[in-house]
Structures are given as structure tokens and as C-alpha cells.
Subunit: 233 residues, 2 copies
DNA sequence: CAGTGGTCTAGACCACTAT
DNA sequence: TAGTGGTCTAGACCACTGG
């Protein structure tokens, strides 16, 4: 375990356990250096991580403060928390509609940067949040990178399996958002009415070496779609 | 100008000018150290910045590569580019509907962390992208932090004025997203039909010292609403 | 195994805040 | 002006990639 990762985790736990609120002050740098027996740079690195995750903000000449928005029930659009943790927090479950190995569509091949004759795993799921329909999801996984999937895996967290089961490192993701009207088929799966609003999201996830391994198209139930993003400007 | 900022800018320009594509390789660390005559840590810091902005990705043992998605016409949801630059890039203009000093609503006061008897600047605008309606925006600015606004300022970029005109430092923002149906009033301003889909976004922006100065409620025209987010996981 | 990026240190010096 | 975070350095050592 990296030192700065460890420190970041400890601080995040500390904030969580003590239910610290927006603006609450954390120990100063010198104190953290002593407490964790590391150099200033290492503490700084840990705090940068937390700052970028929206957990704290630092003010020169003043101190380190907790950053906490006041709203609950919002899903992080760029889940910087663990995927599995998030699923549990929101009681998200899945029903698998389809799962098979096939050739990619042109669109999927383009986004996954692979040939039309190579294999992908195709996954179609409906996901539920606290018993309500949350979204309809179609995913394409490059089979040369993700060699095996089964029903059990995709009912749980695919990303958790990729990280812990396959030992792959997920690097970054590009996410594209539109708003539109539901088609008849989408409405059926989401238990809504054709023409109702939808949030449509396309994502391409890459390994740390830059290879795209997952292209996903998600249609969200507008009633359940509450997202937030915490940015550092 | 900070060294690592300068290096990040130079590299971003270099990528832009040479029209480098996803996966193109940049000079190695040692070379960048020599070129800019700085230490390894400083180059690393510059590259971390670019990595978090979604401009490059680094692969240990291999090199530094350009990160570029293939889609154009999408607006960054968390504009990590300059605000003014973005407006120009997308030809975004504004029409001011209302501008006055008033007392905040309960909602605005809560989000701006101020009293109901303090003053805010209230701004209501319709924004256009390449001549089409983009969004209807209502903003509340804490007057004790933003003491003056006029029609000219808010027709251009308010954030540019706050940064360069007032010399304030914008720190971070919390953004909340919903999808819903347009009300009659919103439809009128956006030249759409009541009941059409909308993307509704609430944002709270804070100065670097953590004080919230802007609470905004934006309703987007779903036809023009194409956003992207680049995340590092 | 040579080359590349990642972590960590110890310390100097700078910029800003609070009192 | 004491205290706090931010930048930058020089260098040691580690982890991973690719021929």
C-alpha cells in the first residue's frame, strides 16, 4: 500500500467516522507529518488526492478543511469512490437481459479501437435502485482484454471483477451525456412512457495503458436520475 | 507564473499546434527536464495537472501519451478550460432578462451560506449557442463578495470578470444534475414545447477560501445539450 | 536489462492568513 | 509576525514495459 494512499484513506475514514461537516478543520501539515511519520511531500500528495476527489480543500495561510455538500441521494457521475461501495450504498441491483460473445457493431468497434472481426462480450442489463428502475445499459467489452464474463459477475460489479478478479488496472474514462425522449423499447424496460425524458450516457473506459476495454450506452430513468460532480477549478 | 503551470500550458499548446491524436507520444521526463531546465518533480507536477484535466495519460515503463476523445461539439461539464475561451470556442452569447440587487430566496441563502437579510445580485439570462437557445439561467451572487455587476459584464463572462476584474480566486464547484420536463415558462424562453425534456443543473461555486459566491439554476435545451466529462479513476 | 514513470525524502524558500 | 500551505530542488530507490 502506498503511503499517500494510506494517509488519504485514513483521513477520509476520520472525516466519515467523526461526521465532520463542510468547513471543519483538519490537523495542520506538520501534525500530519508527525502522526504518519512521513515527509511533507507525502502528506501534500495525499491531500491533493483528496482535494481532487472533492473531500477537502486547502487554504494557504489558514488550514485544511472538509468539503461536504449538503445533499444526499445523488449519485456521483464520475464514481471516484469504489464501484462496489457505491452499489451497496445505493442498493443498486441488476437484472441481466442478454449476455453473449459476438462481433462488435461499427460504433462499438470504433470506440473500442478494435476490428469488426474481433470478439466482444455484449451485456444488456436493467439496473434497479431501491427497487425502482434506474437505467437500461448495453455494454461491449473487448474480449481480448476481458477474456471471461458470466451471469454472476455481471449481476454484481463488473468493474470490481476486472480490478480484483482479473488484476487489471482501470485508468480513465470518457463520458458523453445527452438528454432526449424515450423510445418505446426503452420505456418498456424502464417502466415509463414513450416520449418521456431520458438521460442518455455513453462511456468509454480505458486501462492504465490507454487501451479502451469497455464501451457502454446507458439510458437513465429521469425520475431516479440525480447526479453530482465535484470539480476543482 | 508558476513553473509547472507554464510547462503544462506549453505542452498543451504543443499538442494543439501539432494536432496530436490519442496515443501520440510526448518527450520523456528526462527530456522535458532538460528542455525546461527544471527538476523532475516540477515536470511531474505539470503532467499530473494535464492528466487530471484529461489531456495526457502516463504509463510507467513506457511513456507519456496524448489523451484525445474523437467527438467534437460537446461542452465540458466541468469547464477546466478557461470560461472565456469556452464561450468563444462555441460562439455562446447571452441575452439578459433581469439584473437587480435583492434579498435571496431561502434556497439561495442556504446554498450561499448567507442570511436572508443580506443582499445578492440576481441575474436571469438566456444563453445562445450558434444562434440556437442553449439554456435559461438564474444566478444569485453574494453581494458582499461580488460587490458590483452590470449589464455589460453579465452579457460577457461573469467568471472572467470575477477572476480578472475583481482579482478573486475561484476554488471549486458542486454541480447537481436532474432530468425533467419543461414548464411552460421555461419552454417559452427556450423556444420549445411544455413537457419536452430538459437537463436541469444547479451549481454552487466557491472561492479558494471555501466561501460560496454563486448559486446558479440552469435549464438546458435538450437538443443542444451535449456534455462530456473526462475522469481519471 | 535498459529505459521509463512513480514514490518518497529533507530541506530551502515563497505566499498568504490571522491576530 | 508567527503559522500555514505551496513551489521547487536534488537525489535515492522502486515498479513496470518492451525489446
Amino acid at each position: 500500500m502506498l503511503k499517500y494512499q494510506h494517509i488519504a484513506d485514513e483521513l477520509e475514514n476520520y472525516i466519515e467516522e467523526n461526521k465532520l461537516q463542510q468547513g471543519d478543520k483538519l490537523p495542520v501539515l506538520q501534525e500530519l507529518m508527525n502522526q504518519f511519520k512521513v515527509s511533507k511531500s507525502t502528506v501534500t500528495k495525499a491531500l491533493e488526492l483528496l482535494e481532487n476527489r472533492g473531500v477537502v480543500f486547502q487554504v494557504r495561510g489558514s488550514g485544511i478543511f472538509v468539503r461536504r455538500h449538503k445533499r444526499s441521494g445523488y449519485i456521483s457521475l464520475i464514481s471516484n469512490q469504489g464501484f462496489k461501495k457505491m452499489l451497496e450504498e445505493f442498493h443498486i441491483t441488476s437484472k441481466v437481459i442478454e449476455l453473449d460473445v459476438r462481433k462488435p457493431t461499427k460504433e462499438a468497434a470504433l470506440n473500442l479501437n478494435m476490428g469488426l472481426d474481433e470478439d466482444v462480450y455484449y451485456v444488456k442489463r436493467v439496473r434497479y435502485i431501491q427497487g425502482q428502475t434506474l437505467c437500461l445499459e448495453e455494454s461491449y467489452f473487448n474480449k481480448s482484454l476481458i477474456p471471461y464474463l458470466n451471469n454472476e459477475i455481471i449481476t454484481e460489479s463488473i468493474f470490481n471483477y476486472i480490478t480484483n478478479g482479473l488484476g487489471l488496472n482501470i485508468g480513465f474514462g470518457d463520458t458523453f451525456l445527452h438528454v432526449d425522449k424515450l423510445t418505446a423499447e426503452e420505456a418498456k424496460y424502464l417502466e415509463l412512457t414513450e416520449g418521456d425524458p431520458k438521460l442518455y450516457v455513453e462511456s468509454i473506459y480505458h486501462l492504465t495503458n490507454g487501451q479502451p476495454f469497455d464501451f457502454s450506452k446507458i439510458t437513465y430513468n429521469y425520475v431516479q436520475s440525480q447526479f453530482f460532480v465535484q470539480a476543482v477549478l
